[in-house]
């Protein structure tokens, strides 16, 4: 019994809150992917690698050329947006009519390319932005500003994207395009343009994630591997294309990882999270928020 109560201490609370903050990071990552994977149904397996390139861009601008963080961030977002558009134009566009698995593979190839490009161009060193944000302390509990920032960015981003997708004509077209590409022209929609806009937007969100991630993580060519798979799971757990669902799913995942890790080895946190994902797929295949099927 004593052991049981030992668990309910201030640290548990801290772990819960840290889970929420990690959730912010994951939610931010999932946001752009949800747009690409969830809405227009294009598989960018290399999504986390785009984030990695964005992190390098931040690193070089801030650390190497002394650009201010706030100038570098929009430039990075722009850069990754262009990268996203290019990825679509060069790799996805020729494969739009091919089976989805081919998209997965082609972008898997891009994943290799980006990783080894980073290795070749930037070397294998771990790089660090060197910006040390202050820490928020409440008595014994401490929270990272960088994570709070990601949390806020994820929240604002989620609301903005949600409104964009539901309220604007372009947003509606983005949702429509995965369902019937051929007749988009009958609606007066230039399908190519919609794809490019969406890809650039997805890229921009990856860039945004990069700007905030770089405050918390070292950049190295393989940093994408730590986040890639989990980001995909979150999109699905929340319901493909469901931004609010994705947001919530990120937190659920993060809590499981955080609390699981507190009570046992860190890996069991992941095992739990993955198992939870599988079980949820059976219970709520259309996502956490889906009402019925």
């Amino acid at each position: 019994m004593q052991a049981f109560f030992d668990v309910f201490d201030i640290y548990l609370l801290e772990a819960v809150i840290n889970g929420i903050l990690l959730g912010g990071v994951l939610a931010l990552l999932a946001l752009g992917l949800n747009l690409i994977f969830g809405v227009i149904d294009v598989t960018w397996i290399c999504y986390a690698e785009l984030v990695m390139i964005g992190m390098y861009a931040m690193y070089f601008m801030v650390q190497f050329y002394g650009v201010s963080y706030f100038v570098a961030a929009p430039l990075t977002i722009l850069l990754v947006a262009v990268l996203g558009a290019a990825l679509h134009y060069l790799v996805i566009a020729p494969l739009l009519t091919a089976p989805p698995i081919n998209q997965l593979l082609a972008t898997g190839g891009v994943l290799f390319v980006l990783q080894s490009f980073a290795t070749v161009a930037f070397g294998i060193d771990f790089r660090n932005l060197g910006i040390r944000l202050p820490v928020l302390a409440f008595g014994d509990m401490n929270f990272s500003y960088a994570r709070l920032l990601s949390f806020v960015a994820a929240l604002v981003g989620m609301v903005a994207v949600y409104l964009f997708m539901t309220r604007t004509f372009t947003g509606t077209a983005i949702r429509a395009i995965s369902q019937d590409r051929q007749i988009m022209a009958l609606m007066g929609v230039d399908a190519r343009r919609i794809y490019l806009i969406t890809s650039a937007l997805g890229g921009a969100l990856a860039g945004l994630a990069a700007c905030l991630l770089v405050l918390q993580y070292d950049v190295h060519p393989f940093v994408g591997l730590s986040f890639g798979p989990i980001t995909f799971l979150i999109c699905v757990l929340g319901g493909l294309g469901n931004f609010i669902g994705g947001f919530i799913a990120a937190f659920v995942f993060a809590e499981i990882i955080s609390l699981g890790g507190l009570f046992s080895d860190l890996e069991w946190g992941y095992v739990l999270a993955f198992a939870f994902f599988i079980v949820m797929m059976f219970i709520r295949p259309a996502g956490l928020l889906a009402r019925r099927r």
Binding site: I124, F126, N128, G130, M141, H220, L225, I257, L262, D265
Partner: protein
């Protein structure tokens, strides 16, 4: 047949030049080894030409196996040398032994490589992982009373490690050392070096309130852990690192800024820090040469990483001691000649650039192939310099322990 005409030793060298381990120190080892091999290639050894064939293990054990097999069977090298990661050493050693070829490990430290395996052709001058772990524990044990003012049984220690061969091995040494010293181990946990979040581990550490944290990791997990530790307000008295990521001060500094000061690290000594007075005087010019070459290859590095020296020194032992003897005394560079020459090695303390001596455990002992005279030292980073603080014989200055008041992690 025509190999007989030209006397030549062909050495296959395997390190990780890409992948996560490359940045973790493997590449620096490669540079060190290459400097020495290039040096000997100029003059040759006892009339033998020296030719090195390099391969990249890409931080993957399977590739390391493949490359070793390829070098031995396709490139027809006479031996393989190098290997940074213990996860590669273990299977490659088994393979090489099976092929009855000669292997000289410069860097990897896992004791699992030799443990009860009874290898005949595999040798390692480097200290083994548990020695690293014991060393730091011993250091704290000897200083607990004086610096912390606590009895050993009241000293709270936490052992955390990445869960690869390397971390596991060191942590075993830590554990054994803690037991011997009678410390109160409040937490022992492994984690995967690629985990994207370590805040749960930090929270556990906070709850455990350790006086000393014994950590084994690569980068970037070290930076991640320490950054999250700072953000979550983890406090402790001292942080003991054990080589790998902790051996690369540049990275620590980049990731943690001023907080990198006062971190301890157990590693073979950096050859440029080793006490040259007690060292064989022949080695001084070699150390100087390696330093100059390194500066030429990597200009502008504040602290020459100990990894370069490890690669260089352990390669040097083979090239300068074992190889000449094999040729002169045992008539060639075939595996058996090399093996006999290696078993004959008897270098006293101070006879290598890393300060330790070399004598291999012989056949029939549980650690056959391991250097029984190697030991790591404990250094401390202070003001962008690293100084040996332990063992006493090598110490260059008094350790700063515990963390001074006012520093980020200080629990004073």
């Amino acid at each position: 047949q025509d190999q007989g005409k030209e006397k030549k030793i062909k050495i296959g060298v395997v390190f990780d030049l890409t992948g996560p381990l490359a940045g973790g120190g493997s590449e620096l080892n490669y540079v060190g080894a290459k400097i020495i091999l290039d040096h000997f290639a100029k003059s040759g050894v006892e009339g033998y030409k020296v030719e090195a064939v390099y391969a990249d293990a890409q931080s993957k054990p399977d590739i390391a196996i493949n490359e070793s097999v390829r070098l031995l069977e396709q490139e027809k090298v006479d031996m393989v040398l190098g290997f940074f990661s213990s996860a590669q050493c273990v299977p490659v050693a088994a393979r090489v032994e099976q092929l009855r070829k000669f292997m000289w490990m410069t860097t990897c430290i896992s004791s699992a490589v030799f443990n009860e395996k009874g290898y005949k052709y595999v040798f390692r001058p480097q200290a083994s992982g548990d020695q690293f772990g014991m060393m730091t524990m011993d250091f704290i044990a000897q200083n607990a009373k004086e610096k912390f003012g606590k009895e050993p049984k009241d000293l709270r220690v936490a052992i955390i490690h990445e869960d690869g061969a390397y971390g596991v091995d060191v942590s075993k040494g830590n554990e054994a050392g803690a037991k011997k010293a009678g410390f109160n181990v409040v937490l022992k946990e492994g984690y995967s070096a690629t985990a994207p979040d370590l805040s749960a581990l930090v929270t556990k550490l906070k709850r455990a309130k350790p006086d000393v944290i014994f950590h084994t990791g690569y980068n970037p997990d070290i930076t991640l852990l320490l950054r999250q530790a700072r953000e979550q307000g983890l406090k402790f008295g001292a942080l003991m690192g054990h080589g790998a990521g902790y051996g690369v001060y540049e990275k620590l500094k980049e990731g943690m800024g001023p907080d990198a000061t006062y971190i301890f690290n157990a590693d073979p000594i950096s050859i440029w820090l080793a006490n040259q007075k007690t060292m064989d005087p022949k080695l001084s010019p070699v150390i100087k040469m390696v330093g100059e070459e390194f500066d030429r290859i990597r200009p502008g590095v504040a602290i020459r990483s100990a990894h370069v020296g490890i690669g260089a020194s352990n390669t040097y032992i083979f090239m300068a001691d074992v190889l000449p003897r094999a040729i002169k005394k045992y008539g060639g560079v075939d595996p058996d000649a090399l093996r006999k020459a290696a078993l004959d090695t008897d270098i006293p303390e101070g006879g290598t650039m890393l300060g330790f001596g070399v004598k291999f455990y012989g056949e029939g002992t549980p650690m056959a192939g391991q250097n029984e005279r190697s030991f790591p030292v404990v250094i401390q980073y202070i003001d962008d310099k690293s100084s040996v603080v332990w063992p006493k014989s090598q110490a260059q200055r008094e350790a700063v322990l515990p963390l001074p008041k006012g520093t980020t992690y200080s629990n004073q």
